[in-house]
């Protein structure tokens, strides 16, 4: 017996504020103007993608006490852009990353329920947490949350939001002009939540939206994050782009579902994926090399080395050898507002390893940063990309991918035109949207099926 072919899920990540995004290319457009978002969303919808994905950061990054200026800086408000995109698309899901630390459940639940209404059931929420006092300086409460409590708050935030979504069953609005009854239930929207992080009660004022609840994404990779996803999320935005790492992650997370009474198809694993696409494999390899050099200028290479060295390296020549001094392993980090720097748990060992690598290969600082940084996940001709992506999904390395192009806003155009038709020919990708809501696209059930926790009391 052969396994039936899995259908591939694809989504579009609007290019973000990392050095992955190449702004120096003459074709690179605005990261702020609505026309860029509209172009990107329409391309994704033309390619029958499940959804568009927006990341978020609530404080501009700093390095060495100054605003980091080498990558794209600045972005619009997530909810506002997604609501506007609902006007220029019909099917595309709209996924927003919204922080559970610097928001309150009542307001966020209103915003997602409103977005779901205004898009006809296409809203999704990537729930993220942060705790840093650095970001907190932009908010009323400041950096109030200890690091170890961030998942505890996120869990309770999400549970509270779900209570708010569920506070309307969906049948309360009669709007009967004859009898004069607008509501069937005088207490529609009533809720009480009493917990460690939130103690709130009253009436939620947005009636139940088409999807009931927005689709929930989770992006954390820690053990705690995986467990949170297995318990609560509909999809994971993961970062395991290689076949082996992807399969290990996939198997680990899917195996956690049973203990929450959930089936393996109730949580989709969708890693971020970059790509270099050209007419032939050889041209794509060349393009991939070129893009990597654009992504890592000499100045960027020095700044990235500072993530590990944790000291000002601006006096070094990016085309010269690595510093012979050791990293500063003090408490304060030179870089703020960036999750990436936490990857380097033992900077002294990393520095030693990189020096050896550079010496063995005769790499300059810039060469080293290019080679140790992330290579594009998929490099090749349209046929190669279609075959590889399909192979990853059929091998259970993922259920699909959230594609992160390096160019704004045209970085998906060629993929839509050349790779998508090949996936369709393989019979592993939709030729038309079958449903209208994002839950339909992702094959997820409407949450009313599992709505038991708030029986009338």
């Amino acid at each position: 017996m052969t396994k039936p072919l899995k259908q591939i899920h694809l989504a579009a990540h609007f290019p973000g504020v990392n050095n992955t995004t190449v702004w120096s290319d003459p074709r690179a457009g605005s990261h702020i103007e609505f026309s860029s978002f509209a172009h990107f969303a329409r391309t994704a919808e033309r390619a029958k993608f499940d959804f568009l994905f927006l990341a978020e950061g609530l404080r501009l990054r700093e390095q060495g006490g100054q605003i980091y200026d080498l990558d794209v800086v600045g972005r619009p408000d997530t909810f506002t852009v997604l609501a506007a995109l609902a006007a220029v698309t019909e099917h595309l899901g709209l996924t927003g990353t919204i922080n559970s630390t610097f928001n309150e459940p009542y307001e966020v639940a209103r915003q997602f329920a409103s977005l779901d209404h205004l898009s006809g059931g296409r809203a999704a929420w990537n729930v993220v947490t942060s705790w840093d006092a650095f970001t907190g300086e932009n908010f009323r409460r400041g950096g109030f949350l200890p690091q170890q409590e961030r998942y505890s708050r996120a869990k309770e935030f999400l549970a509270t939001a779900h209570e708010l979504f569920d506070s309307w069953r969906g049948d309360e609005i009669l709007a009967d002009q004859e009898t004069g009854r607008f509501l069937s239930d005088a207490k529609a929207g009533a809720f009480v939540h009493s917990g460690r992080h939130f103690d709130i009660h009253g009436r939620f004022n947005v009636p139940r939206s088409p999807q009931g609840r927005p689709v929930i994404f989770q992006a954390g990779d820690s053990d705690e994050g995986r467990e949170f996803a297995a318990a609560e999320a509909d999809a994971i935005f993961s970062r395991h782009g290689t076949l082996e790492a992807g399969r290990a992650f996939y198997s680990d997370v899917k195996s956690r579902l049973a203990k929450y009474g959930r089936g393996r198809d109730q949580l989709l694993i969708l890693p971020a994926a970059t790509f270099a696409l050209a007419d032939t494999d050889a041209e794509a390899e060349e393009l991939a090399r070129e893009v990597r050099r654009q992504q890592v200028s000499g100045a960027t290479a020095l700044r990235h080395l500072e993530f590990v060295w944790n000291r000002d390296l601006s006096a070094y020549d990016p085309d010269g050898p690595l510093p012979d001094i050791d990293p500063d392993i003090g408490e304060d980090h030179i870089s703020q507002g960036r999750a990436q720097v936490r990857m380097y748990r033992d900077p002294l060992a990393t520095a030693r390893e990189w020096r050896e690598l550079a010496e063995a290969n005769r790499w300059s600082i810039r060469d080293l940063v290019i080679h140790t940084g992330n290579r594009q996940n998929f490099v090749g001709s349209p046929a190669t990309l279609a075959r590889t992506i399909d192979a990853f999904v059929q091998a259970d390395a993922s259920d699909g991918f959230i594609l992160v192009p390096h160019l704004t806003p045209t970085g998906l155009d060629e993929f839509a035109d050349k790779v998508v038709p090949l996936l369709q020919e393989r019979g592993v990708y939709r030729t038309e949207y079958e449903g209208t809501t994002l839950r339909d696209h992702l094959g997820l059930a409407h949450p009313d099926g599992r709505r038991t926790e708030r029986a009338a009391s």
Binding site: W23, S24, E33, F34, R59, L60, I67, D69, L70, D71, V73, G74, R75, P76, D77, F79, T80, V81, A83, A84, A86, A87, F102, Y106, E107, Q111, A113, S114, H117, L118, S119, G120, E137, N138, F139, R140, G142, W168, I173, A175, Q177, R181, F182, L183, A186, A188, G189, F198, I200, H201, G202, R203, N205, V206, P207, S209, S297, G298, A299, T300
Partner: protein, 400 residues
């Protein structure tokens, strides 16, 4: 004889559910089942744009509507529930081209950092047509939706305790607006340089910490969103008394007031202008609009009969914080011009029944004021500031 003709009127419409009369949802064409769809709101705003109006406001609140001022009710015979106003405005922005979009934001329980970038983004998605209408909430039940603070229950409007509570909330709202405005300026217009030679995307000397320190909160900045197309989107506020007049005078571009007649209008405008002087803003343009609820029909008797029918459905006579006009578009045009003579520069009209009175404004009132030479015959500017005759302001942080 006056040497210069009076300035043309500015007209806005306040959108709230199916209209401002609590029985409006029962009228033919009211579409109460569609209140929570994008199509409903798109149709209303498109109709307002057809009438060349300056802007629409969208009402909002952080709790269900109520027939009581300071507590919820359990009525089932009126519209309850609403969508987030900023998102409604964003959803209709790409479907319109000229009209200003001014959602309500509640300062009391929201983060100025989030509001600032949301309205800046509304300005981007509308190409320069965004504003906000700031309001406070003194409802204890709405405070309980957030659980971060308590608001003392107000028993009587004119008690000293009520005044203290409301004064405090308006002071906080003024700080909120100050932070929102500073964040809009926290990027200079030409901060994004994309200098390939040096690898710098921005000139960080043109980004600014706002370092606001107030009694209620402090905010560091800069915004994550670059300066919006209008530089400063429009800030408006509705004001009924001294404390909110002060907020209008200190922080707004458009204040909305509710005078019962021309004398009261003249008096209130004078009070706001005096507060404006006191705040050191005398030289800055500040519109003062009159708010009116309107019931419009081709003859006055029909309009009165319709309002009575609505009152009968509601079970009580309609009352409002704003004066209520019931009559013909021509009579309303006369009234507006009379009120203009007392210092009002425009009007925010609240349609009693959106499905009926909004088209009566755009297709009845507008031709009447056009005929009197008092209203535009085509949109003359591409931004809301442009429509309101306000220049694009210099950035407070830019070196002169």
């Amino acid at each position: 004889m006056s040497s210069t003709p009076p300035a043309p009127l500015h007209l806005a419409v306040a959108l709230d559910g199916t209209g401002w009369h609590p029985a409006s949802w029962r009228e033919p064409g009211a579409r109460p089942r569609e209140l929570f769809t994008a199509a409903y709101w798109a149709d209303l705003v498109t109709e307002a744009e057809r009438g060349l109006l300056d802007f629409v406001t969208v009402e909002d609140g952080l709790g269900p509507q109520s027939s009581h001022a300071f507590e919820p009710d359990e009525r089932t015979d009126q519209v309850r529930g609403r969508l987030d106003a900023v998102l409604v405005a964003a959803r209709v922005a790409p479907l319109t081209r000229h009209i200003g979009l001014v959602p309500t934001v509640v300062a009391t329980h929201t983060e100025p950092f989030h509001i600032s970038k949301a309205i800046a983004t509304l300005d981007y998605v509308s190409n320069g047509r965004a504003g906000l209408r700031v309001q406070i909430t003194a409802r204890p039940n709405e405070a309980a939706h957030f659980g971060r603070r308590t608001v003392p229950r107000i028993e009587a409007y004119d008690s000293p305790d009520a005044l203290a509570t409301v004064t405090d909330l308006f002071d906080e709202a003024a700080d909120h607006v100050e932070v929102v405005r500073r964040l809009w300026d926290s990027w200079e217009d030409d901060a994004e340089i994309r200098d390939v030679a040096t690898g710098r995307f921005i000139d960080r000397d043109k980004l600014h910490y706002i370092d606001f320190e107030g009694r209620h909160f402090s905010v560091r900045g800069p915004s994550i969103t670059p300066r919006p197309p209008q530089g400063q989107p429009i800030v408006s506020a509705l004001a009924h008394d001294t404390v909110p007049y002060r907020l209008v005078a200190r922080a707004a571009d458009v204040g909305c007031i509710t005078p019962r007649d021309a004398d009261e209008a003249r008096d209130t405008v004078a009070r706001i202008r005096a507060e404006q002087d006191a705040a050191g803003r005398a030289s800055e343009p500040l519109h003062v609009f009159g708010d009116l609820v309107v019931f419009l029909d081709d003859d006055a008797a029909t309009a009165r009969a319709r309002r009575e029918r609505l009152d009968a459905l509601a079970g009580e006579p309609f009352t409002s914080d704003a004066p209520v006009f019931t009559g013909t578009p021509a009579q309303l045009a006369d009234l507006l011009l009379e009120l203009r003579a007392s210092g009002l520069t425009g009007f925010r009209l609240r349609p009693g029944v959106a499905a009926h009175d909004l088209p009566a404004i755009t297709r009845g009132l507008v031709p009447e004021v056009q005929r009197r030479g008092a209203f535009r015959r085509a949109y003359e500017a591409g931004t809301l500031r442009g429509l309101l005759g306000l220049p694009r302001p210099a950035n407070r942080y830019a070196a002169a």
